[in-house]
């Protein structure tokens, strides 16, 4: 037996010894995992979809994220360019190589320079799509993948996220259901609530500790009718 196998056997042995003196609670671990039972869902998300969208926006802005809303995805390049100009930021960004982002009419804003790929640490602004968003706390759900480099979520100073209204759900559990329905769990799932922050110096909150100083959400109206209301 290798050292590691011996350690494993001994730890499991200790656990089983301790277990012997406990009364089992009658739930089998396998059944429990398969059931994926939800705990209590806060009543604050018990709303129709339009109200959830507003709840998400309220929570996200309370966390110091900014939100601009557009009626149609063709307006995304304009919203991004206007945001960057308004913040006095460079009109250059590194975007996730996501087909939907690449298909946007970027030529309508020729002053914007868009590069696609992962971040190497030199980019000041990134643009990524969201997978979902949780109205309960104003939290974005982002996932890694060939078209979704994780580095874009953390290295640049300014992170711009494209979110469609139909991607907004009430609680985290709805977001998990959508993720499971979309295939195997990706390597990284990032829940992002506002920009990076720290209170490590004298307990005063400062934004932009190591991750992005600014989080901007471009919220696209895409016909909430297609949503199931949650």
């Amino acid at each position: 037996m290798t050292d590691s196998a011996r350690a494993r056997a001994q730890i499991l042995g200790m656990i089983r010894k301790g277990k012997a003196s406990q009364t089992p609670d009658g739930q089998s671990p396998d059944e429990r995992i398969d059931a994926k039972r939800r705990g209590t869902i806060p009543a604050r998300v018990d709303k129709d979809h339009a109200a959830l969208v507003e709840l998400f926006v309220d929570h996200a802005t309370a966390l110091s994220a900014t939100v601009s809303r557009v009626d149609d995805e063709s307006e995304i390049p304009g919203a991004v360019a206007d945001y960057l100009a308004g913040e006095n930021l460079p009109a250059t960004l590194c975007a996730a190589p996501d087909p939907a982002l690449q298909a946007l009419p970027w030529d309508t804003r020729p002053a914007l320079t868009v590069r696609y790929g992962r971040s190497d640490g030199a980019d000041e602004v990134s643009l990524t799509p969201a997978f979902a968003a949780v109205a309960e706390t104003g939290t974005l759900m982002l996932r890694s993948g060939p078209d979704h480099p994780t580095t874009l979520n953390f290295l640049p100073d300014t992170h711009v996220v494209v979110l469609r209204e139909s991607q907004i759900v009430g609680p985290y559990e709805e977001a998990w259901d959508r993720l499971r329905a979309a295939g195997p769990i990706p390597r990284a799932v990032n829940f992002v609530s506002g920009p990076s922050r720290t209170a490590d110096i004298e307990q005063t909150i400062q934004l932009g500790a190591h991750g992005p100083r600014r989080l901007h959400i471009v919220l696209v109206q895409d016909g909430e009718g297609e949503s199931d209301g949650g």
């Binding site: 590691s4 350690a7 001994q10 730890i11 499991l12 200790m14 656990i15 089983r16 277990k19 012997a20 003196s21 406990q22 009364t23 739930q27 671990p29 995992i33 994926k36 039972r37 939800r38 705990g39 806060p42 009543a43 929570h59 966390l63 190589p97 790929g117 992962r118 640490g121 706390t137 939290t139 890694s144 993948g145 060939p146 979704h148 480099p149 580095t151 953390f154 609680p171 985290y172 998990w176 769990i185 390597r187 990284a188 799932v189 990032n190 829940f191 609530s193 990076s196 922050r197 720290t198 209170a199 490590d200 110096i201 004298e202 307990q203 400062q206 500790a209 190591h210 991750g211 992005p212």
Partner: protein, 473 residues
């Protein structure tokens, strides 16, 4: 045999006389406490969720073997590795071996209490690997060569002027006349100094708030984003986690996450909650090539089925210390080991031996506030009382002697920590006793000094005298 938990009374006395610390603790009482109360008031379901959180952990603890095996199988299926470690020493060696396999020069680290518990930084450094703490608080105490004084705010005891002092000293390549008066300037400087370190590191080490049996995922909860940079950029991601961190499903993690940030900082959710599942996939644009989970027991499995099992539900939120009148008076360093406050008073004797930490379960007014705020319903006062009874009933048994030796070994491997606490202890005792040369009583130490007078130490520790005399180390 040098330890520092045994000198809790003198540590405490020194702490009470430290104006910087007292100011920080006063701020903490208004900050954390008010923020938590506000967050809880905004979630009417909070108490129901506490019951559910407790039930999830109790269920896990009574099926821990099955959940760990399931977790391991999933990690392996995803292309990662699980390393089972009985002791701190096994965990240190495992981590070093992984670092050596890629000839690592520097390692970035996200905040991890397990990292503190096993003393990974000193060990890596002794073996030629440079650890760089990236959480701002951890970075500050690393520069100051101190242990953390709070489990979620490790540098809570350091005023901004002292942070600036450390930055001027360490970042000596920068303009010596720059202005570091404000927290903003300090945060920006740390940000820019650490940028390149993330990109250069060969290995990134993080802790884990949860392990998910369903998917084989590990979870970190942070506000700064440092943990994500630490685990995304290097070739290798090592997760250090103790085995009770496991929960069955993503749903169960979500239930407990509703309790964690609210109890810790009063946030509804932390800025970043990340679920990591294995190394990068073949088509992925970025992420680590290797994913290792170092699974630490270090005495925890022996608590199962005992009266101390309940402490294994702890999610390290820090609420018990934020609300504790004793922690609020003396801060974290006085407790003398990595875990302070009520949870530390229960966990420390468990991990380092009741003879070494006998004072800690006494460091309580038994006001019950910790149990009232604990999101996992851990009966902390009751557990402290168990220890008091045990310490009283048991003399030095072979078991506690072994624990004492373990404690000595812990400090022997951490010369800096040893010097820090030995110095702290000497200064405190010297200051308090110089007037009389001898102690009759110390605050909080009735039981200790009642039966013996302690001679007051005069001046510096042996190592400080040796250094002052130009001795080489």
């Amino acid at each position: 045999m040098q330890t520092t938990s045994p000198s809790f009374p003198s540590n405490a006395r020194q702490a009470l006389a430290d104006p910087d610390l007292q100011q920080a603790l006063t701020k903490m009482k208004v900050g954390f406490v008010v923020n938590r109360a506000n967050a809880v008031a905004k979630l009417p379901e909070f108490d129901t969720l506490r019951d559910e959180g407790r039930d999830i952990k109790n269920h896990v603890l009574s099926n821990l073997d099955t959940y760990l095996e399931r977790f391991e199988a999933k990690v392996t299926e995803n292309g990662g590795h699980v390393h089972w470690c009985r002791t701190a020493d096994e965990a240190r060696r495992t981590i070093l071996d992984i670092c050596r396999s890629v000839d690592a020069k520097t390692v970035t680290k996200g905040k991890s209490m397990i990292g503190e518990e096993i003393g990974i930084n000193d060990f890596l450094e002794e073996n030629g690997v440079t650890p760089v703490e990236t959480d701002l608080g951890e970075y500050i105490i690393q520069l100051r060569k101190e242990p953390p004084s709070h489990i979620i705010a490790p540098a809570i005891h350091v005023p901004k002027e002292k942070v600036a002092e450390s930055f001027f000293e360490t970042h000596d390549q920068l303009d010596a006349d720059r202005n570091l008066d404000e927290p903003r300037a300090l945060v920006d400087e740390a940000r820019s100094m650490l940028r390149q370190k993330y990109l250069d590191a060969d290995v990134g080490i993080t802790g884990a708030n949860f392990l998910i049996a369903e998917t084989g995922s590990t979870v970190i909860v942070t506000n700064e984003g440092n943990g994500d940079l630490t685990q995304t950029l290097p070739k290798i991601h090592i997760v250090t986690a103790s085995l009770e961190k496991i929960v069955p499903t993503l749903e169960d993690a979500s239930t407990i996450l509703r309790l964690l940030a609210r109890s810790a900082t009063g946030q509804e959710f932390s800025s970043y909650t990340t679920f990591s599942t294995g190394p990068r996939r073949p088509e992925d644009a970025d992420g680590p090539e290797q994913f290792h989970v170092v699974l630490l027991d270090n005495g925890r499995s022996a608590l199962l089925g005992t009266e101390f099992q309940d402490i294994l539900r702890c999610i390290r939120c820090g609420a018990c210390m934020n609300h504790c009148p004793v922690y609020g008076a003396v801060g974290g360093h006085a407790y003398g080991w990595v875990y302070p406050g009520p949870m530390g008073a229960v966990l420390t004797p468990t991990l380092i031996g009741v003879d070494q930490a006998a004072h800690l379960p006494n460091a309580s007014t038994f006001c019950g506030k910790c149990q009232q705020v604990c999101p996992m319903h851990i009966p902390l006062p009751k557990l402290m009382r168990h220890y008091r009874e045990r310490a009283f009933e048991r003399g030095l048994t072979p078991g506690t002697l072994r624990a004492g030796l373990k404690m000595w070994a812990f400090f022997a491997r951490r010369p800096r920590l040893y010097q820090f606490f030995a110095g702290l202890k000497m200064r405190a005792l010297a200051a308090a006793g110089r007037r009389r040369g001898r102690f009759k009583s110390l605050p909080l130490a009735g039981g200790w000094t009642r039966h013996r007078d302690m001679p007051a130490p005069q001046g510096a520790t042996f190592q400080q005298q040796w250094d002052a005399a130009g001795g080489a180390r």
